[in-house]
């Protein structure tokens, strides 16, 4: 077996450990402390924000326009509507401002 193959297997194993690890740790406790539960409830906003925030550093007019439209549409529309609106604005704006 090639080195590449083993890198893939080890990388896949490491990834699966991260995907099951949090559950294995938490499930060892019979009750979840209210503060831990508050922390777990904060996970979606906390993690997903870190995937967006650094992008703002390099965002130009086209990117900002797309994000603003996405935010506005998300107040009313569903996930698909807001995604398509943001993507459409981005593509159109980039034809003008690159």
């Amino acid at each position: 077996m090639s080195t590449t193959f083993w890198i893939i297997i080890a990388g896949a194993t490491a990834t699966y450990l991260t995907r099951i690890g949090g559950h294995l740790v938490i499930s060892r406790f019979d009750t979840i402390h209210p503060r831990v539960e508050a922390g777990l409830n904060a996970v979606p906003a906390a993690v997903l924000t870190t995937l967006v925030a650094p992008e703002l550093l390099n965002a130009g007019p086209a990117e900002w326009a797309a994000l603003v439209v996405t935010a506005v549409v998300s107040l009313r529309g569903g996930l698909m509507a807001m995604f398509l609106a943001g993507a459409a604005v981005l593509i159109v704006a980039r034809q003008f401002v690159g």
Binding site: T15, I20, G21, G22, P34, A38, L40, A42, T50, A53
Partner: protein
């Protein structure tokens, strides 16, 4: 609500409901799958190896980083460690979603954790928040199309990668931030949402500038979660329950 009616037709419609929700994810991730396949071959992977990595690791950002380092002839253990670092945020997803799927049979749980990506977690968590059960059929409907398209498109990218036109004009590099912003905003009714977003956003930007990628994700996430843990429970709405 008919979520407590457990029947074959109920599971079937749950599955298709999940499939509908998976469509934006399929669209947003498609360019990255193709791009990954193209980059993988460019950096010395075979088409089969690119396909295998997508099928077994199944984590876009970590696959890109792995490929990049492989092309630079970095030591294998360091490549694996980097993949682990990029994917470390899933530990938090895993701890969070475990509360929602603990009622599944163990094999279904094992499979569920395997496809626990960013959107999979966010959409499932949003469903749980709205008071609905996160069932296996629904969860699979949400995750399976994304997985199948991801591995097929990776292989296509590996075979035809050279044919990709101007990715910048098509906005491909910025589709995921748009999608993730929508997901973040979807949680805005949660207690502590704004303080958590501000803490995570600020911490991730500072970490991005100082420590560098990919650690800014874990550092920013921990900052937001810690804030929620440290604030008195009456702010987080958790202690109110009987």
């Amino acid at each position: 609500m008919a979520t407590d009616v457990i029947s074959e037709s109920g599971a079937k419609s749950d599955f298709w409901q999940g499939v509908r929700l998976s469509m934006p994810v399929v669209v947003a991730s498609a360019p990255f799958a193709v791009l990954f396949g193209a980059l993988a071959v460019d950096n010395g992977f075979s088409v089969l190896e690119a396909f295998l990595m997508s099928a077994l690791v199944y984590g876009g950002a970590s696959q890109m980083v792995g490929i990049q380092l492989f092309g630079q002839h970095v030591a294998p253990w360091l490549i694996v460690l980097s993949i682990f670092a990029v994917n470390f945020r899933h530990v938090l997803y895993s701890a969070g979603i475990g509360r929602r799927i603990a009622h599944w049979p163990i094999i279904q749980q094992a499979l569920g954790y395997f496809i626990l990506t960013d959107p999979q977690f966010a959409v499932a968590e949003a469903r749980a928040q709205s008071g609905q059960t996160v069932g296996f059929a629904w969860y699979l409907g949400l995750g399976l199309p994304v997985y199948v398209f991801w591995i097929i498109e990776s292989a296509l990218g590996a075979v035809f990668g050279k044919l990709i036109p101007d990715t910048h004009a098509l906005g491909i590099d910025f589709l995921l931030p748009i999608y993730f912003l929508g997901l973040v905003l979807g949680f805005r009714k949660r207690p502590l949402w704004l303080p958590v977003v501000i803490a995570s956003g600020a911490a991730s930007i500072v970490a991005y500038k100082t420590v560098g990628s990919p650690w800014h994700v874990s550092i920013g996430a921990i900052a937001g979660v810690l804030l929620a843990v440290l604030l008195p429970p009456h702010h987080s709405g958790v202690g109110e329950r009987p």
